[in-house]
Structures are given as structure tokens and as C-alpha cells.
Amino acid sequence: MAFGFGNLWRRKTKTILTILGVIIGTTAIVIMISLGIGMNENFRRELENMGSLNLIDVHMPYRGPGMMERGGPIKNARLDDKALAEFRKLEGVEAVTPIAQDYMRFAAGKYVTDISVIGMDTAVMDKFDFKIDKGRNLLPGDTTAVVFGSQAPTLFYNPKSRNFYGMGGSNPVNLISDKLLLTMNHQYGERRQSSSGDDSKPLKVYKVKGVGVLQQSNDEKDYSAYMDIKSLEKIIAEGRKMQRQQGVGDFSPGQGYQQAKVKVKDIQDVQRIQQHIKDMGFECFSLSDILKSMQETALGIQALLGGIGAISLLVAALGITNTMIMSIYERTREIGVMKVLGANLNDIRKLFLLEAGMIGFLGGLLGIGFSYGISYLLNYAGLSFIQFMGPVGEGSRMSVIPAWLSAAAVVFAAVVGLVSGFYPARRAMRLSALEAIRTE
């Protein structure tokens, strides 16, 4: 069957043009899909920058008056230790911690800052991706210890200084060695206290101890401080009580925790566990929600892009069919001669299928090579264009061609070739030998 190649070679121009069609079709599909895959990867990377994908935030269900009107059974779910214990029992859950959070003021000497203080279960802190840069992590029994986010030191300023917004330069405070004070009084340390607090007792000030600074994580952790939830809740409760005496705020203790975080071992389980917790009557949120919707969007775009590519490959397939049919017209006599010389119908069909498959295969192979080239260009030249539209993380690529994609593309192109060759091959097979060799 070597003359399949001979025939392809003899009709060089036509073959090359047909192969070119397949190359373009394959390249179009591969590049389009690779863009989709690249987009997906970038989404994932961005989300990973935003935070861990296997964390679930659990909230108390919202019970405003509107909810009652809308009806529906409201489960009497309370985010307390009992509920947390139930979360822990769920399969695939690695760790659970209650979360309390408030905005408080830290003071170190004459420097102060207002940052978000988050209370956690100190026993499981290391499970929640808290990586220590300096000092140590929180340990069970650390009632007054605080761990700061990496950017927290830079947030301290001197309220008595004239240009206290001029941060930066050297960090004025050493959070681990300096004496620290924590208070809910946001005017603490200011030169003038606002008038509203004049007639009331000042909010209590607590002594705390900085024990560690976290590694930079590029998310909200950098700008937070962490401490034991029991201690924090006590501070909050006392503060609220004080404020209520002053007629501000509304705090009813014993309602359970504000929120909780659940760490899941495997990202695949996040959706399932999240649904489980929702069924228990809580509000849930995780980054994998966003990932899911992003992936759905990406899938849609990918399908669209792939569709465009598929159209060009379809055109290429028609090209193959057309070339093969033309080839049959040109070679009617040859086919006839072969039949007269005793060629099996199968031989003739094989010959044509082989030629068509060869065109598809070669086109696919070259198309893949071509795609890698284009992908390379896109990743190096096109990246600046994306950066123009929005920031991208390091190592992000616009177009990603995994090995399976290139293998699938070559196989697909060959199959398209074979399928396109099927009709011409049948035609050649059915050609009357007599018609073909007629001299006139």
C-alpha cells in the first residue's frame, strides 16, 4: 500500500492545501481549548491567592423579620459547640473552629492601630494554614496571646504626630517584645477624646502579649490579629455590656458563635460537606462556590471557543472529502485498472481511507506543532495584553496545552480524515471497472 504515499506525493499541491486545511482546523481547536484551560488555571490560581479553597465559612442563618414573612420552616439552628461537634463528625472534615470577630484598637506605646481581631480555637490553629514568620503560633491556654498578620506592624501610627498617615519607613513597633494594650475604645491614645464618651466610664483596656507574626499570604490574614476565642468573646461581651449601659449596641450572650470555619481535607468534598451544613440550617460560603461558578463560566467560554475551532475543522473535513472525490475523478482509470488486475474491493477502499487518514493524521500532527508555536507566542507576547486588562499572578499562562489535548487532537484529526474519506472510498469501490478503462 506504499502507493498511497506515492499518490499523495504526486498530487503535492492539492495534498498540501488539504493538509493545510486540517492544520488550521486542528490548530484552531487546540488553541481555543488551550485558552479555555489557561483561563481555568488562572481562575484557580487567583482563587488560591484569595484564600484556601478547602475552607467553608459557616454563619448563623439570617433571621430578620423579612424572613418570617417569606415563610418556610426555619430550623432552630444554633452555631454552638454542639453544632461544631457535629461538623467535626462529618466525613472529610479535618478541623472546625468557631470564629469571633471585632474591630479593635491596639496600642503599643504611643502608636496605635485599629484592626480586625479574630478569635479562634487555638488548638486547631495550625490546621488552618497559619504559617508563622516570627515568634510562634497560638497554643491552647494562650488567653492573652495575639498573633498578627504580616502587614499589621505597618498599620501602627502615632495619632499625636501631625502627619500620622505617613506610614511606611521603619516599623515603629515590635509586636513581639513591646507591651501591647487592646481595647474596644477606638479613641484610646488620641489627644482629644470625642465628646460622646465624656460622661461614661471609659471602655476597659486589656493587656495582651504578641507572640508571633504570620507569613505574608496576600489575603485578609495579613491585616488581622488572632487570639483565643474565649478571651476575645469575654472582651467583646464586657465591651458590649458597657456600651449597652450607655444605650448603644445590642448584644445578647448565649446565642452561640458568630461564625465558624470548617477545613475540609479534600477539595472534592467541599461541595458535599457544604451542602450538608446548609441542610443543618446554616448559611455557608466557600471559595469553591466561586470556583464552581467560574469554572462553569470557563466551561461555557471553552465550549464556545472549541465550537469555533470545530467549525474550522469541519471545513477542513469537507476539504478532505472534496480532495478525495476529485482524486477519484482524476484516478477513475487507475481504480478501474486496479480492479481489472484483481484488486479486492477492500484493497481499493483501504487505499482511499489510508490516503484520507494520512491527510488527517499529518494535518493533525503538524497542527499540534503549529499550536505549540502559537501557544508559546500567546504566552509570551499576549500576556502583557492581559496584564493590561487586570493583574495576573506569577506564572499564569494564557494558553495551556496539556499532553492529553495534543494526543486527542492528532487522533481526532486522523479520525476526521478517515470519516471524510469514507464516502469517497465507497464511491471508488463501487466504480465500474469497465467504465474506468474505456479508452474512448
Partner: protein, 253 residues
């Protein structure tokens, strides 16, 4: 080139028991052209013995080519039986016919019909290729065949690089390489000049007689018909007369 006289003497010897290789019984072929029926062959009854060299002679449109096509299994008769080597070929399927042609039939065409993509050796190989003979064996045999027809210098030439006479020699080598029982030749010299015609005819008859192969030749050229043992005149779809050439064929001019 060949010792023709000796072989002719052998073939025309009376006493040999010769089996019929081709039998036509009441063969009729009607073409339909639009609404009109054209009778190409009316009613042909004919037997040809193994090893004979028959020539069908007739003007164009006499039906001689149709008769050849029927005997080669390229067409089916409207009516009648065609028995070749004991098989009713008009009943065979196309697949069976392909196999039949592979085994028993060689073909020489007027317009040579070599495959332009292949060189001389590969063209000669074709029938063996279809039989599934291994490449070394078939190419060795093809080279020997080409040497026999005097083309040992043109193994790697493509048809476009050869003269008409050379192409027809390749065609002859191709027809005989599979040692078929019957070789059909349809105006094999129609595209050749008279000198080449003679050479080609000697070559064909020489090889056929050497191997005891049946040769069926179709022509309108009386000069060529003289090479045959038997000349069957075809006129308007019927056998007009059958002439036996007694000896001396091919050298009687």
C-alpha cells in the same frame, strides 16, 4: 527473439487432448441507451481450448469488445452462460470476480493503463500485490519479467519517462507476471507504430505460447489477426465466420 516456429508447431499439434477453457452458450448482451435497446451481442456460442490463441476481428461497434468484457467478467451478459475454467462467471459477485481475475486472468490494454505514480517494477508487481505476495518475491519476479520483455534498464522509470512501446512492454510483463491461464488483450497495439506493433505482438505470442497460456486478442487490424491460431470474425453481434490459421502464423509475410 523467441523460437516461435517450434512452439507453434507444438500448439497446433492435433493429437493433444485439450480442455475447453472458455465456453459461451447463447450469450446475449443488450444495452439500453435511453429508451432504445441496442443489441451488442445477439447470440454467441463458442468454445476456446486451453492454450489457444484466438483473435476476435471486427469493425468498431461489432460487439467484439463487449465480448471480451463479458469473458473477463467486467460485464454481465443479459442472457446465457459464460463458463471459464469450469466456473459460471456471470453468477459471481464482484468480490468473487476480483479473486477470479487475480488468479486466472491477465490484461493488456490499448492505452497501457500503467499507474503513473509507480515505477516499472511496481507496476508489474501490482497483480502479485493484490494476491498478497511478499515484497521481495514479487519484486524479484517483476525484475525477471521486465528483463524478459527487454526492459532491464528501465526498472525504476515511471510511465511518463517511457515510450509507448516501452510502456506496453511493462503492460505485457504485468499481464503475464501472475502466470494467469488466460490473457486478454484489447487492441494492444492500437497506440503503437507498425514496427513496435510487430515487436509487441511477437513478445505477447511468444510468452503466451511458451507458457501454454490462452490468449484472447481483440482487434480490427487484419495484419495482427494473422498471428492468431484462430480468427473469429464478429459482425453486428454475431460470429460471422471462424478461420483456422494453419501453421506458419506470424511469419507468413
Amino acid at each position: 527473439m523467441f523460437i516461435l516456429d517450434e512452439q507453434i508447431a507444438y500448439n497446433s499439434g492435433e493429437g493433444l487432448a485439450i480442455a475447453n477453457i472458455i465456453e459461451l452458450k447463447d450469450v446475449r448482451k443488450v444495452y439500453r441507451v435511453g429508451n432504445e435497446k441496442v443489441v451488442a451481442l445477439d447470440s454467441i456460442n463458442l468454445t476456446i481450448e486451453e492454450g489457444a490463441f484466438c483473435c476476435f476481428l471486427g469493425t468498431s461497434g461489432s460487439g467484439k469488445s463487449t465480448l471480451l468484457n463479458l469473458m473477463a467478467g467486467l460485464e454481465k451478459p443479459t442472457k446465457g452462460q459464460i463458463v471459464i475454467k469450469g466456473s459460471r462467471i456471470e453468477r459471481m459477485s464482484e468480490q468473487e470476480l476480483a479473486l477470479f481475475r487475480q488468479k486466472h486472468v491477465g490484461f493488456i490494454f490499448q492505452s497501457f493503463n500503467l499507474l503513473p505514480a509507480l515505477n516499472a517494477v511496481e507496476n508489474v508487481c501490482l497483480p502479485l500485490t493484490f494476491r498478497g505476495v511478499s515484497k521481495e518475491i514479487r519484486e524479484a519476479r517483476a525484475r525477471k519479467m521486465l528483463k524478459d520483455v527487454g526492459l532491464e534498464t528501465h526498472y525504476r522509470h515511471r510511465p511518463s519517462q517511457m515510450s509507448g512501446g516501452q510502456q506496453q512492454r511493462v503492460g505485457i510483463a504485468r499481464a503475464f507476471i501472475g502466470k494467469p491461464g488466460i490473457v486478454f488483450a484489447d487492441e494492444p497495439t492500437g497506440n503503437l507504430d507498425s514496427k513496435t506493433t510487430m515487436e509487441v505482438m511477437k513478445l505477447i505470442t511468444g510468452i503466451a505460447r511458451q507458457n501454454g497460456q490462452t490468449l484472447i486478442l481483440v482487434t480490427h487490424d487484419l495484419g495482427i489477426a494473422r498471428y492468431a491460431d484462430r480468427v473469429i470474425h464478429i459482425l453486428d453481434g454475431n460470429i460471422e465466420k471462424i478461420e483456422e490459421n494453419s501453421g506458419n502464423v506470424g511469419v507468413n509475410q
